[in-house]
Amino acid sequence: MKPADQEKPGHPRLQQAAAGVVATIACALALAVGAMTTAHAAATIVIVNQNAPGVGFNDPTPAVPVGGNPGTTLGQQRLYAFQRAADIWGATLNSSVPIRIGASFVPLSCTATSAVLGSAGANEIWSDFPNAPRANTWYPSALASKLAGEDVATPGEPHIIARFNSRLGLFPDCLPGNGFYLGLDRNFGDQVDLVTVLLHEFAHGLGFQTFTDDETGEEILGIPSIWDYYLLNNRTNRTWVESTPAERAQSAVTWRGLSWNGPRVTAAVPQVLDPMSNLNISGAAAGTAGGNYEVGDASFGPPLSNPPVRGQLMPVVDQANGTGLACDPLNALNSLAVRGNIALVDRGTCDFVTKARNVQAAGAIGMVVADNQPGDVAGMSGNDPSITIPSVRVTQANGATIKASLQRRSRTQSGVVASLGVNANRLAGTDPQGRILMYTPTIYSPGSTVSHYTTEAKPNQLMEPSINDDLTHEVTPPRDLTYPLLQDIGW
């Protein structure tokens, strides 16, 4: 039997039905699990199944239980994964008002190499409800209901909408081979861990988002979001509430320009975030290149630590234009240059792991990758347990500065010393005052939102704008800062 959604991808009838119908079976399951959860949970989260019979959560395609998910049909397994994410949040939050998530699996946009995984968010926002902590301020309806002590949402409306792709990985035109992993144990391999994605998306629906337009800075009906009281422009030292629309819009595309100024998050930052990685350049020939550089970390090899890994910085040169890609085993000359030293290579052509493998095989004790495109500091993914040397990535501009100091060198020495360590005085992803930064890419990306933590946080956080492989299912310190932010806004 094939998944039920194979009949007509994106068929409007399916979408309409999925959005409009509640399946009695799933409601009963929600009832059962909700009741089960209540005994030790601080908030009850009810998954309201909006799928029609036979599709989505009700897809009867047989499935083998996987990773602790006991479901025996595709639909049941989807529902169990949803319930796991709901249970995690339910055990974390406090509210006397059950939180309703209107959920469905429906065909969403796909290509053979990309897909919309899903979408979620608050369904309604409310201000000036009973017991509202701040007047004239938008709160997501789940939070407003918690604060009011009664359900302020329009009767029957869910507090949160969540819609996920029912065709992901199951059809040739929808990222074939990379579907949702429905197990509950994070053993997702090459698949997409659904529980992690749900934890992320539910957080947005609970209030991890501003309702003010990131691109224009305009507020909805001229009213600020509770989020905006804590979103601080660290250049002007004014929050978004205190800023003009133009200032808000500008700050949303200012690299490291926005910090979260909430007491709960800031207090938790030291126990969650690790020291910031640092590249120090020194030595007799370093000249104006000497100093500290911000770097992107690698997900392979050992993390940077103190004492630092220190050595002469030597460039790999294997291209006619003088750059070095290190995509193939190094020749004798390059091997001689990097042996016992730190290799400087250029980004491009092959993945970062391949470069690290090649310079390590040639005897390098560390690797610095210079970006080949303008942009902000970014990390490097990949996985190879055999890599034992540390690697970092610097921006194209910084790479050019460092390369300029390496022009005069011998075959084995440059007189420029690279030191790969950590800055004990600064935590990764924080501003100089120790507040976590929010995501503000310099280059505008459509839909990019300040409703995420910075990508520089270490370890990776659930609420960064991408789902990283090393995430756990934790939403609280000492691993994660998602819940402290929700506490700051009133949870």
Binding site: G20, L31, I125, S127, P130, N178, H204, D351, G379, P446
Partner: protein, 142 residues
């Protein structure tokens, strides 16, 4: 069964009934409210009859559509509809307007990268942007 559990079950049962009624109503009004997906049909070139679009046709249709109301010259952005609270206060139903989308892309090396963006238009943009060109690059593999 404890009194607390009984109360919880009663509350949840009522909630499910409420949800059932509401969701049926939503089925009838969704298209006019969200104005985003609606019912899409195409005229078949061979038969001349209307039919549901293929995925490729749907993508082409979306690509031709204006990215947002603000993108249409002279069209002011639409203000959301205000709601009145039963116990005071006022609200706005965002519906799908402000949903945050998670988009995943597979690179040439087979590795996945995801991107969380706000709004359907941004999701479509991310969906059709080459892996290497994506601005969110916390974990680029190459």
């Amino acid at each position: 069964m404890s009194k607390q559990k009984m109360m919880t079950l009663s509350m949840l049962a009522a909630l499910c009934v409420l949800a059932t009624v509401s969701m049926h109503a939503r089925a009838q009004t969704k298209e006019s409210r969200s104005g985003q997906e609606g019912m899409v049909v195409v005229r078949d070139a061979q038969t001349g009859k209307m039919r549901a679009p293929t995925p490729q046709e749907l993508r082409e249709l979306r690509a031709k559509a204006p990215t947002s109301s603000a993108a249409v010259a002279g069209t002011p952005p639409q203000q959301p509809k205000a709601l009145s609270g039963r116990h005071g206060g006022h609200g706005v139903r965002l519906g799908e307007k402000s949903l945050v989308y998670d988009v995943v892309t597979r690179g040439e090396d087979g590795k996945l990268s995801s991107q969380c963006v706000q709004g359907e238009d941004a999701a479509q943009h991310a969906l059709h942007t080459e892996h290497a060109q994506q601005e969110e690059h916390r974990h680029e593999a190459r």
